[in-house]
């Protein structure tokens, strides 16, 4: 009970900041010397580019959340149909889909992102699809396993014998059957994607160096940890709250699910 309340409140702060922040913040422009001490005009001081740290932090949550959500949506958009095809289109389709996805699993995710960056493929336009593709194998597995579950199989066989077309069975029956496991998986995957994107941005593989994204801001200002700690520690604390909150909440929801089933 405690950890659920803690999880939700940890999650709420960075989420609210991320959504409302860009509205409250003024334009993210340079206003003075880098790493100025906090004063009345700039309550958190300035960052490495001489921008007001508070404005930067307010504007920096949206890229974090936006990229995560975009990557997740893209991943499920590809993973769910692939899983349904693997489960419902016979042995050959199953083998083809699953074996080729195994290849993607063979490499550590961050390694793939680094190689992409090394060959000049960086920026959010590459990072988001790449992170999504890296999630597809796991999603496809979850969907396939749920669609092949005994309860689901029997009903599909019955519907097939009644002469319903394949795609109508998949969309009308199997897709609904798969929703539960997919929702559970999405919770865990949210934490994974969040971590991966933050790490990639910290290593400079994604967003440009002047982006207000929290991970980028932390990396750019980390050498000022002694002189201007606020501009590093505030985004660090926000990212931590976001990641811990996500994991606590999904962990609680998972535990609740397990009790019911």
């Amino acid at each position: 009970m405690v950890s659920r309340a803690l999880g939700w409140s940890l999650l709420a702060v960075p989420l609210l900041l991320a959504v409302a922040g860009p509205v409250l913040a003024g334009p993210v422009v340079s206003v003075g010397a880098p790493w100025q001490a906090p004063d009345a005009a700039h309550p958190l001081g300035t960052d490495v580019l001489g921008r007001d740290a508070l404005t930067v932090i307010l504007a920096g949550g949206l890229p974090v959340i936006g990229m995560t959500v975009a990557a997740l949506l893209l991943a499920y958009l590809a993973g769910v149909p692939l899983g349904l095809v693997a489960a419902g289109r016979g042995r050959l389709a199953d083998e083809t889909v699953m074996r080729s996805l195994d290849l993607v699993l063979a490499f550590p995710s961050l390694l793939v992102l680094m190689v992409l960056a090394a060959t000049g493929h960086r920026g959010p336009g590459v990072l988001i699809p790449a992170v999504a593709v890296l999630q597809v194998p796991a999603i496809t597995r979850v969907v396939r396993a749920a669609a092949l579950a005994p309860g689901c199989r029997t009903a599909v066989e019955a519907l097939t014998l009644q002469g319903r077309p394949w795609w109508r069975i998949q969309l009308g029956y199997v897709a609904r059957h798969v929703t539960g496991p997919v929702a559970t998986d999405a919770g865990t995957r949210l934490g994974v994607v969040l971590y991966l994107l933050a790490s990639a941005n910290f290593l400079g593989l994604g967003l440009p160096a002047d982006s207000p994204d929290w991970a980028v801001v932390i990396e750019r200002n980390s050498e000022a940890l002694y002189t201007a700690p606020a501009v590093v520690l505030v985004p660090a604390a926000l990212l931590m709250a976001l990641c811990v909150g996500t994991n606590l909440v999904t962990d609680r929801l998972l535990a609740a699910r397990r009790v019911i089933t």
Partner: protein, 297 residues
């Protein structure tokens, strides 16, 4: 073999042309063409792969596009720091996960189980660079207890520089390994094997340590192999954060310079470690799993 092909394919088929990176922005087309020829980038793909592979067999990973130094030398030079970091991390991680897993597994649902589960999940959730920075802020900036960076120091000469990096690396991996062990052990203690052994009159200690723990450890060892993968990713970030001259920082530098031969070298080393880690875990797990000959009908 797959690792070799994939390493080459990924780096060669996505060329953000290395030649133009070497020469900088202002290079003329002619200069680029000359350098491309020097680097052998104008030859057919299969030709280049064969050449790369034949040199690889002799331990030659090519030369850095930026410094001209052999890639293999650079990797060997950086290997020690990363090996020490990863080695110490595993030495801390395995016993710690064992203790946490056993304590939680035997007292499933108790207060201490829930407390440890919450703490490890909390530590697992924080990205390495965030946790590292917060630890530096707490231990190095204000109290000066531990050094904040390893820049310019030899890891073996000053062991204290490695403390914070190891804490960060262990924190993220502990949760999954301990959790696997806990689930396995909790299942085992409720199972028929445990019942049988207890009825034989064996002391609980022997039952748990000699019989249940090995059986419960198999999935945890598999998880440990995945942790090795996570540790590799972690070292890249932790080394960057603490300025350790290891494979991770070398990889990041190579990526920033678009130094393709170096990137290929690092990918090969990293992928090789992942493959070896999985192989080792499979072997250990196979030893730990009770033989199943009787049920293979």
């Amino acid at each position: 073999m797959f690792v070799l092909v994939a390493t080459f394919a990924v780096t060669a088929l996505l060329p953000g042309d290395a030649a133009s990176v070497v020469l900088g922005e202002q290079a003329t087309d002619e200069q680029v063409a000359t350098v491309r020829h020097q680097l052998g980038l104008d030859r057919p793909l299969l030709d280049r792969f064969g050449h790369w592979l034949s040199e690889l067999v002799t331990g030659d990973l090519g030369r850095s596009l930026v410094t001209g130094a052999p890639v293999a030398d650079e990797i060997v030079r950086r290997l020690a720091a990363t090996a020490v970091l990863a080695g110490v991390t595993l030495l801390v991680l395995v016993p710690l996960a064992l203790v946490v897993g056993v304590v939680c597994g035997l007292r499933e649902g108790s207060r201490i189980d829930r407390a440890l589960a919450a703490v490890t999940l909390f530590l697992h959730s924080i990205p390495e660079f965030v946790l590292g920075l917060l630890l530096v802020a707490g231990f190095a900036v204000h109290t000066g207890l531990l050094p904040a960076t390893a820049a310019g120091t030899d890891l073996t000469a000053r062991p204290e520089v490695i403390v914070l990096p190891v804490i960060v690396l262990v924190a993220r991996q502990l949760c999954d390994v301990a959790r696997q062990l806990r689930i396995g052990l909790a299942e085992q203690t409720r199972g028929p094997v445990a019942e049988h052994l207890r009825l034989l009159g064996l002391p609980e200690r022997t039952v748990v340590l000699r019989h249940l723990l090995p059986a419960a450890a198999a999935p945890a060892v598999q998880q440990l192999a995945r942790a090795v993968e996570g540790l590799l990713t972690g070292t890249v970030i932790v080394e960057s954060l603490f300025a350790i001259t290891g494979l991770g920082t070398g990889f990041v530098e190579a990526v920033q310079n678009r130094d393709i031969p170096q990137v290929q070298g690092y990918v090969l080393v990293f992928a090789g470690v992942v493959v070896l880690g999985n192989l080792a875990a499979d072997l250990v797990a196979h030893r730990l799993t009770p033989r199943r000959e009787l049920v293979t009908w």
